[in-house]
């Protein structure tokens, strides 16, 4: 069985400690976390969505899903990587410092990647870039020789294509 990357969308009750429960399960059972995002999605129903990118063979992924569902505050787990019907995006703030030719080149690449300039000083920029993870990574790598200071990434937000909600009621 082959290891593959899977994006899991986990709908949870937004109670104290719920994130620790989910994350603790990954570390206790030795599963990977490659990316993690958490946010409240609906204040009225008090629910949050945790999006985890993990990897493993089919058997491990099934086991991960079943272990997560077993946690009491978890409503549902959906594997967005089954089929190709999902959209995944990540945002990063990329700080680059430099002058002269490097500065011009950084601006040119930012433009090519459709990154926005959200802060500019005479010797530095902050770019905001949104896109698939590999695109964000590529942009950050390109900035390295041009004076990359640091990059702050959000982790992945994901949903399924089409009119249906990921977590059907």
């Amino acid at each position: 069985m082959q290891d593959n990357q899977h994006t899991l969308s986990i709908l949870v009750d937004n109670e104290a400690g719920v994130l620790a429960r989910v994350i603790g399960l990954f570390s206790a059972r030795g599963y990977n976390i490659e990316s993690l995002t958490v946010s409240e999605i609906d204040q009225a129903t008090n629910m949050s969505r945790i999006t985890v990118v993990t990897s493993g063979n089919e058997k491990i992924i099934t086991q991960i899903k079943q272990q997560i569902v077993r946690l009491v505050p978890v409503h549902s787990v959906v594997d967005l990587s089954l089929g190709e019907a999902s959209v995944e995006r990540e945002m990063a703030l990329v700080k680059v410092a430099g002058v002269g030719q490097k500065r011009v080149e950084a601006l040119r690449l930012a433009d090519a990647f459709r990154a926005h300039t959200v802060d500019a000083a005479v010797d530095s920029f902050i770019f905001e870039i949104t896109g698939r993870t590999d695109k964000v990574t590529q942009f950050i790598n390109l900035m390295k020789p041009l004076g990359l200071v640091e990059a702050s990434r959000t982790g992945i937000a994901a949903t399924s294509r089409g009119a249906e909600a990921v977590h059907a009621e």
Partner: protein, 584 residues
């Protein structure tokens, strides 16, 4: 109708409304309000243990021998951390348990206050669920929810951490029971198509076998009834894990004895050679499977389990059925009868002929001599002399535990209490207390090792205080025998730290606690000593001096396959692979 109550009173009200009349606990500053409320009521009996670990094991014994939820009350910090072992034990053996821990007042949480420990953090991975109740308004709901979660689905321990100010605060008590949860919804009934597929496999099987586990016990006595009926209908042989003993009677003609690392030759060989395996409420633990890639290679596997995460976790199965054992077996019986399956089934005679040949190896046989008591002989005699009484057995952990499982015969469920998943030395004595509380007139015996008994021996004082006439039956080999056995087998007979030079005089120790202490070393006097133990109306400790170097056999060494088991005492000559040595 709602009444005004303090947090402490709400806790006791919920316990009462949940039918709880027994609480095992130990007081301290952070639970004083609850203890004060206990003092002022009379529907709950509180049993004061001598160490919080004892309270948790007592609650486990109580729960496992009754099917009810075992309840524990301890204080914050060290009280709660002392309870961790029992919480972890209950999680691995799926025992329904509520543990109420006191916590420092909410304004002090997070300040490293006196006796503060992050119990919700500490128990997150060793409880089924846990709560920190910061507001008294949530207390009643949380308590009822906790009982529902602990006792339904795959049972387990639930921890409720209650800060001291919440125990003092007042709120309305409504008395409404909770029997559902927004997100937690255990599956009870098995999928009909999976059940139908399973029946088809079983009815065409030439070499079927039932492999049953603790899930049958947890599902209640009716599940054991259903198992017995289904076994009769199908005619298939039955083996069980350590946790499942008693679900199918040891006196039944389809019984193959326990399977696994120290299981019988016939059970393990039949598991290896079967063509259809029906796993009922068991979870393919590593003590059962041996080497995974060679486990039961020729069969179709059916797995009935209430916990979806148990399915395909270790062993890939062909027909998974998620559901409660009782419900699923009842449906299977109906379908079997409706299809007249018994009539069209192939004959199982050739299968039982093979099995009888394995049985003839008599794999639990041992050396009996006139001058030393063989540990197996001690269990055999204990069984013969107690079998006609209302008897419950608990154990500690080690060789004595395995010998008890091999040589004590259980015909009913809920009679056998042992720490299977966690393997906790120190479990047996407090567990016996819990059993005795639930069954005051029964004969409750802790089969112990001299090592294990020293882990929770202070609970003999609890036995005295509450007049619990438990019997502690120590197989004293003056060794941490099970570890010594592994050292003999796997570590070149280098007996590192498995012999204690100072073992207490158990007879004097028993007397110091006010119990009766007996000692026997002559096989000819064993029966009389056991009878004396049984006749005494109070707690008794019997120090049985047994053969010191006996090994627990048969044995499937780690990393070996079922049909490679060691039958005779030739341990020193056994080759164990390096990969096997790395396994526990």
């Amino acid at each position: 109708m709602a009444i005004k109550a303090t947090g402490a009173e709400i806790i006791l009200n919920v316990l009462k409304d949940q039918g709880v009349d027994t609480l095992f606990g130990y007081p301290g500053g952070a639970v004083l309000p609850i203890y004060d409320a206990i003092y002022q009521q009379n529907h709950i009996n509180h049993y004061l243990v001598r160490h919080e670990q004892g309270a948790t094991h007592a609650a486990e014994g109580y729960a496992r021998s009754t099917g009810k939820v075992g309840c524990v009350l301890v204080t914050s910090g060290p009280g709660a951390t002392n309870a961790i072992t029992g919480i972890a034990d209950a999680l691995l053996d799926s025992i329904p348990m509520i543990v109420i821990t006191g916590q420092v007042g909410t304004p002090l949480i997070g300040t490293d206050a006196f006796q503060e420990a992050d119990i919700v953090g500490i128990t997150r991975s060793c409880s089924k669920h846990n709560y920190l109740v910061r507001n008294v308004e949530d207390l009643e709901r949380v308590m009822h929810e906790a009982f529902y979660i602990a006792s339904s689905g795959r049972p387990g321990p639930v921890v409720i951490d209650v800060p001291k100010d919440v125990q003092f605060a007042e709120y309305e008590y409504t008395g409404e029971l909770v029997n559902e949860h927004k997100t937690y919804k255990p599956i009870i009934d098995g999928a009909p198509d999976a059940i139908a597929e399973a029946i088809k496999l079983i009815k065409n099987a030439k070499k079927p076998i039932f492999y049953t586990g603790g899930g049958v016990i947890n599902s209640g006595p009716e599940a054991s009834e259903a198992l017995r009926e289904f076994v009769e209908l199908t005619g298939a042989p039955v083996t069980s894990t350590l946790m499942g003993l008693g679900a199918y009677p040891a006196s039944g003609d389809k019984w193959l004895n326990m399977l696994g690392m120290h299981g019988s030759y016939e059970a393990n060989m039949a598991m290896h050679d079967c063509d259809v395996m029906i796993c009922v409420g068991a979870r393919f633990d590593d003590r059962i499977t041996g080497r995974i890639d060679a486990f039961a290679p020729h069969c179709k596997k059916i797995h009935i389990d209430i916990d979806p995460s148990s399915i395909n976790k270790i062993i890939q199965v062909d027909v998974p059925i998620v559901g409660d054992v009782k419900s699923v077996l009842t449906d299977m019986i109906k379908l079997w009868k409706a299809g007249n399956c018994s009539k069209t089934q192939p004959s199982l005679k050739p299968w039982f002929k093979e099995i009888d040949a394995w049985r003839a190896r008599n794999s639990f046989a041992y050396n009996k001599t006139d001058d030393v008591i063989a540990p197996q002989y001690a269990i055999e005699r204990l069984y013969e002399l107690t079998k006609d009484q209302d008897t419950y057995i608990t154990t500690e952990v080690g060789q004595h535990q395995m010998w008890a499982a091999q040589h004590y015969k259980f015909d009913e469920p809920n009679r056998w209490m042992t720490s299977g998943g966690l393997g906790t030395m120190g479990y047996g004595l407090p567990a016996a207390l819990g059993v005795q509380v639930a069954h005051p007139d029964a004969l409750v015996i802790d089969i112990a090792g001299e090592g294990s008994i020293q882990m929770c021996m202070q609970e003999m004082a609890t036995a005295m205080q509450f007049g619990l006439p438990i019997k502690i039956f120590i197989l004293n080999n003056e060794r941490l025998g099970m570890v010594r056995q592994w050292q003999q087998l796997l570590h070149g007979e280098r007996y590192s730290a498995t012999y204690s030079e100072s073992i207490p005089d158990f007879v004097i120790m028993a007397q110091a606690f006010g119990c009766l202490g007996l000692r026997v070393s002559d096989p000819a006097k064993l029966d009389d000593t056991i009878k004396e133990m049984m006749a005494y109306n109070g707690p008794v400790l019997v120090d049985v001096e047994v053969e010191k170097h006996a090994n627990c056999l048969p044995m499937i060494p780690s990393g070996a396959v079922h049909n490679e088991m060691i039958l005779e005492d030739v341990l020193a000559d056994v080759e164990v692979s390096d990969a096997g040595k790395r396994l526990v």
